[in-house]
């Protein structure tokens, strides 16, 4: 985490959402950057299970990075807290074009059990154009993988419910 992100955190709070996203083109491998923006960590745990388990992620051409500037896709879990909003924004801005946004779990989509309040902004749905939303509280790693695969395939099949 660079100091740039931290500074962004304390200066650009509550900045408006970015412009509509250009479509993500299929590339290989597709690089993901994961941010937990504040939930119960169950969705993060399932993303971790997907990354570290036998789900054939590498075969599907999906890798994860810990540097947003190398990422094609931003994968968000958890509701967006007011403290994390600028961090998510800074990560998004650090990513090169074209890029895509993935919301995993009820929290990341619409806040789920953690809707807007004094400390929380809520889900991404209303604030940004989400390329792929995977419902569930939490979704299973299979459902997350299915969502990603659907996003990459030319004719998306319906997303599996968790």
């Amino acid at each position: 985490m660079s100091t740039v992100l931290i500074r962004a955190l304390f200066t650009s709070l509550l900045a408006p959402a970015g412009p509509a996203l250009p479509p993500v083109v299929s590339r290989s491998p597709l690089v993901f950057f994961h941010v937990d923006s504040g939930g119960c960590e169950a969705c993060s745990l399932e993303v971790e299970a997907l990354r570290k388990g036998d789900y054939g992620l590498a075969e599907a051409g999906i890798v994860f990075t810990d540097a947003p500037r190398l990422a094609d896709m931003l994968l968000v879990t958890g509701t967006c807290t007011r403290m994390m909003a600028p961090v998510v924004k800074a990560a998004w801005e650090a990513m090169p074009q074209p890029k895509g946004l993935l919301a995993v779990g009820a929290c990341a989509i619409d806040g789920g059990p953690f809707a807007e309040n004094y400390a929380v902004l809520g889900g991404l749905e209303k604030r940004a154009s989400v390329d792929c939303a995977i419902p569930g509280c939490p979704p299973t790693p299979d459902a997350i993988l299915q969502g990603i695969v659907n996003l990459l395939s030319p004719t998306p099949a319906p997303i599996m419910e968790a």
Partner: protein, 543 residues
């Protein structure tokens, strides 16, 4: 040193010096309330109570505020062993935004005092730690739960960190990590001062994951509150839902069938294994033991798959609810009790297979991997004195020689032998070893529970779920459960058919502070592994 009080039978308390008051007598001398275990204290009595804590073995389980009063929840001695929970609550009606705090005498109170200050704007006098815990100025208001929250601009300056350590300033560097590290842990920011190849200072900036649990769990229906309690943090969602449900049941005077208790305990043990595997896998990963980490992650995934096959959920959220358990063996509708028991028995058997095969292999591999065994010896040491002062439990307390375990006295574990593993080194290596031993114990208990889930026992079988309806009149209840990281405690206040308020005591808040104290001194390359050995969830710290 004072002589500990001697307890006789029904709880009468006789001390060596009858003239000196104890915490118990001081609280009981307060004004009675409609709740048998809660007493209102005057400001003077509250002062006496704080002073009395200097040499009284009473343990402060939690400290909360509701805007009108602060409530301190005590137990006679360390919960665990034969006696179990013997709590008392002292309430002080606030006269202004201040009260005499406990943290100077009981450092355990620090995270509670900081939370109360951030949420209610009520300050603890004499506080040992005056830093904010979750309010970093990014909220829409300050003191959001108080009667008159003050709107903020939503903008703040840079966070305040302590002045750098002189050695770090002269010849070292300051590193930052988080809140978005690309990993799967919750958002938290660390600032490390490194000099001469050692981490000299560690400061954690928390609050990124604060969702306002306390506010969300006030004035809601039983179902909503129960669901929220499972989302405090995933590492202890069964434990929290159990503590919440048991607190509601206690408040309403509902007794739960012993079998339901056993099922809850069994689920809690599965969760303990899952949480320990997570922290072991992350530790191995951070230490660079890739193969070991992969084995641990896979083992965790298999555990989740087995749960999914048996009870339709990979993670055990929403299995425990007030009034019983909701288990839907491969599906989402409540099934007949016999089918559920059958499914649970199969689940226990499958987990036992893991215990006799894969688990032993992984444990042997761990013991043969230098970076996580000898590499972590002497790193991140928690001194016994600190562990005692903070009454630490869970893997961290146990690795410092503290063996208190609430399961010993919990009804739900009756019929199962409990052996709590203990080590004395207090370092990262010992913590990991204790986690392995804890898993082995949980596996043994799960096998024992499996034997109890026998459908051929034709005795009257009560329903696994008795729907509860909150009465109109006010009632209060408490419960505590031994979670994966230590004691989890809930106090609920029910009124007018709703959950008026829920007070949550989570060990993570205290452990976060322990982590900050124990991490300096470790080598920068091992920092992450040592940190992961604590397994502190920020979702649980921030609430």
């Amino acid at each position: 040193m004072s002589i500990p009080p001697i307890l006789f039978g029904g709880g009468a308390l006789v001390t060596q010096e009858p003239s000196r008051p104890t915490v118990r007598t001081l609280i009981r001398n307060g004004q009675k309330t409609e709740t048998a275990w809660r007493f209102e204290l005057t400001e003077d009595a509250w002062f006496d109570l704080v002073e009395c804590l200097r040499d009284d073995p009473a343990v402060l389980l939690g400290l909360w505020c509701d805007g009108k009063a602060v409530h301190a929840f005590f137990n006679d001695g360390v919960p665990g062993g034969e006696v179990g929970l013997r709590p008392l609550m002292a309430s002080l009606v606030l006269d202004g935004p201040r009260y005499r705090g406990f943290s100077a005498i009981r450092h355990r109170a620090a995270p509670f005092e900081r939370m109360i200050r951030d949420l209610w704007g009520v300050e603890a006098m004499d506080a040992a730690d005056t830093r904010p815990l979750v309010d970093r100025g990014a909220w829409t208001v300050t003191a959001p739960l108080s009667e008159r929250p003050v709107p903020t601009s939503g903008m703040t300056d840079m966070p305040e960190f302590a002045a750098p350590d002189p050695v770090v300033a002269a010849q070292g560097m300051v590193f930052s990590r988080g809140p978005a590290s690309g990993g799967s842990e919750g958002p938290v920011h660390f600032r490390l001062g490194v000099a001469n190849e050692r981490v000299r200072t560690v400061e954690a900036l928390t609050g990124f994951a604060h969702r306002g649990m306390e506010a969300r769990m006030a004035g809601v229906s039983l179902t909503e509150a129960a669901a929220l309690s499972g989302r405090i943090h995933v590492g202890a969602s069964v434990a929290h839902q159990w503590a919440f449900s048991a607190a509601v049941e206690q408040a309403m005077g509902t007794t739960i069938a012993p079998m339901i208790g056993h099922i809850r305990a069994m689920l809690c043990e599965i969760e303990r294994i899952h949480t320990h595997l997570t922290s072991l896998a992350r530790t191995a990963d951070a230490a660079g033991a890739e193969m070991l980490a992969t084995r641990l992650y896979k083992a965790r995934d298999i555990l989740s798959r087995v749960c999914q096959a048996a009870i339709g959920r990979r993670l055990l959220l929403d299995c425990v609810v007030p009034g019983g358990v909701t288990l839907a063996i491969s599906g989402y509708e409540q099934l007949p009790e016999d089918v559920v028991l059958d499914g649970l028995r199969t689940l226990c058997e499958e987990i036992a297979v893991f215990g006799t095969g894969d688990f032993l292999d992984i444990q042997a591999l761990w013991q043969a991997t230098g970076v996580v065994t000898s590499g972590l010896v002497g790193e991140g040491v928690v001194p016994r004195s600190l562990a005692d002062a903070l009454v630490l439990g869970g893997a961290i307390g146990r690795s410092c020689g503290r063996g208190a375990d609430l399961r010993q006295s919990m009804e739900a574990y009756s019929g199962v032998r409990i052996r709590t593993p203990v080590a004395i080194e207090g370092d990262a290596a010992a913590r990991c070893r204790i986690r392995f031993e804890d898993i082995a114990e949980s596996l043994r208990m799960i096998a024992a529970f499996g034997a109890m889930f026998s459908p051929d026992d034709e005795a009257e079988r009560p329903s696994f779920l008795v729907p509860l309806k909150i009465p109109q009149e006010r009632c209060e209840g408490y419960a505590a459960v031994e979670g994966p990281d230590g004691l989890i405690c809930h106090v609920v206040i029910l009124q007018a058919g709703r959950v008026e308020r829920t007070f949550i005591a989570e060990p993570a808040g205290v452990l976060q502070g322990v982590q900050e104290t124990a991490l300096p001194g470790s080598s920068p390359s091992k920092f992450d592994a040592v940190r992961c050995s604590f397994g502190v969830s920020v979702a649980a710290v921030d609430l």
